[in-house]
Amino acid sequence: MISKTDIEKITEAYRNNEIKKASHLGKIFYNDLPKSIKKVVEVSNFLVGNEPFGNIDELIDYSSHFDIILAKRYFLEGNFKKYFNTILKTIENSKDTLTKLYGLKELKISNQKKFDEIYSKYSSLEAQTVRSEYLKKFLSSNYTEAIKIASEFTSQNNHAEIILDIADIWYHTGQYYELANLCFSLQKEGKLSNYFSYLYAFSFFSSGKIYDATAILEKLLQIYPKNVNILYNLANCYIQLGKLRESEKLLLEAEKLFRSPSINFTKGVLYYKLGEYNTAKEEFTKSLGSNEFEFSSKYNIAICECNLGMYDSAIKRLIEIRNSSYVDRKNFERLDRTIDIVRRIGRKIPSWLIILIILLISSGISIGTYFVLSFINFLR
């Protein structure tokens, strides 16, 4: 039977940043623990990278910032609906300022549009603690101050939760170098959880270290096979590394989970590289719906058509985009030169035909000469 002291030991371990200990103690008594302490144990599991001991769904009651941390599991699993639902409900339900600010921070790093929609309702929340203060600065996009306060705070209190906050701020502000360094030191200390591994892969990928990003993403994919971000970004790594068939498998999986023009565009790139120009053209056509790909997809369709021998259609398309949707001088010049090359290729006469024409002309000349000479001789 669990005693009050055992419960205190778990909460104390968590408070003192002995996260592994909190998780370990929680495992021993898990079934007897009250719901609120189970939540602490599951948050500890998340922070140290352990699998949950119980059902997370049953623990989440949208009351504290722990619910938001637990929702990050849904994020890693690729269940974005459940992830956002938990964040939004917790922000709305909770009476606690820190929890609301924490939820808003999570929303801001994951979906700026959703954040912008609701932030005005909460912008007057008063910061009462140092943590609330840097969260508030972050929410109002004062990132410099947010990082400054959070960094000073970690020098007094390097609790895993605060480290997570800083990592999230770096993730949002794109400080890949700092984020990679932080993840590296966590790895050295044996504290690199799956969420931090995800951030590590992000920082490697974004700074062009594709081999390192690939190694981490491959491991993460084993654990989270339904996370579309992992599938898609790993597929892009494979394209960059020339592993095209491996990439194809992942993109097909990603497409089943999430519909997006980005996936179609990348599939277009992939099939083009595989020499399957018809399929590539189809995929580029599907990605036309997005503003982001309007120019590049149209251009790529023309290049596919050129490879398919459809020169007239390719030229027509290139002229159309040159005259309507070119976006800068470089593209204009490029389009002009491409049109010229396609025209030349399109007009190219096969070599056997050239030889035949030369033969016909030369024999024509010979016969003509023969007749002329014969005629002259005849006159004489």
Partner: protein, 178 residues
């Protein structure tokens, strides 16, 4: 160019790396689809500013956080990149040269190739011991050489465009609307 100059002034007025990064990120998202020429001009001015003003903080921001974007929008910055590399070689800033290597194959030109070859020769002569840097330098030089040769053949003109999206980490949660 005036617009890019104004953007650069705003960037250098930001007091730290985070502020600079966020502002550049904003400009990229704003002009990526509508007017990327601003971005090409901006990167050109930034590189020039770095070596003229020895702004190492801005160097870190660009080469740590925007190396992929510089590869995409750096097509107007070849001379500035070469001047920057020359400056770094003269100052023997090898750690910083290391950070530029990723951008070089996509942005460099014949002069970059010459600069790198000279640097490799000098390092080998001086029996420089960082084999990782030497390897990276040689790889970058090889990739640049291949790209220059392909460009001469006009091969790139009949190739598809892979915009920035294929080198940018995708966050699909951003696209969830419900």
């Amino acid at each position: 160019m005036e617009k890019a100059r104004m953007m650069l002034n705003s960037i250098i007025s930001e007091p730290d790396k985070v502020g600079k990064t966020m502002l550049i990120k904003y400009y990229i998202s704003e002009y990526r689809a509508t007017n990327p020429i601003f971005l090409a001009q901006l990167f050109k001015l930034i590189l020039k500013y770095i070596y003229e003003n020895e702004d190492f903080e801005l160097f870190e921001v660009i080469f740590e956080n925007f190396s992929q974007e510089l590869g995409v929008y750096g097509y107007e910055s070849q001379e500035e990149l070469n001047n920057l590399i020359s400056y770094l070689i003269q100052g023997n800033y090898l750690e910083m040269i290391k950070k530029t290597l990723q951008v070089i194959p996509r942005t460099g030109n014949q002069r970059t190739l010459t600069l790198l070859k000279e640097l490799i020769q000098n390092l080998e002569k001086s029996k420089y011991i960082d084999t990782k840097l030497l390897y990276d330098l040689k790889k970058s030089t090889f990739d640049l050489k291949t790209n220059i040769e392909n460009a001469k053949k006009g091969l790139h003109l009949l190739n598809i465009i892979e915009p920035e999206s294929t080198v940018r980490w995708k966050k699909f949660e951003d696209e969830v609307n419900e």
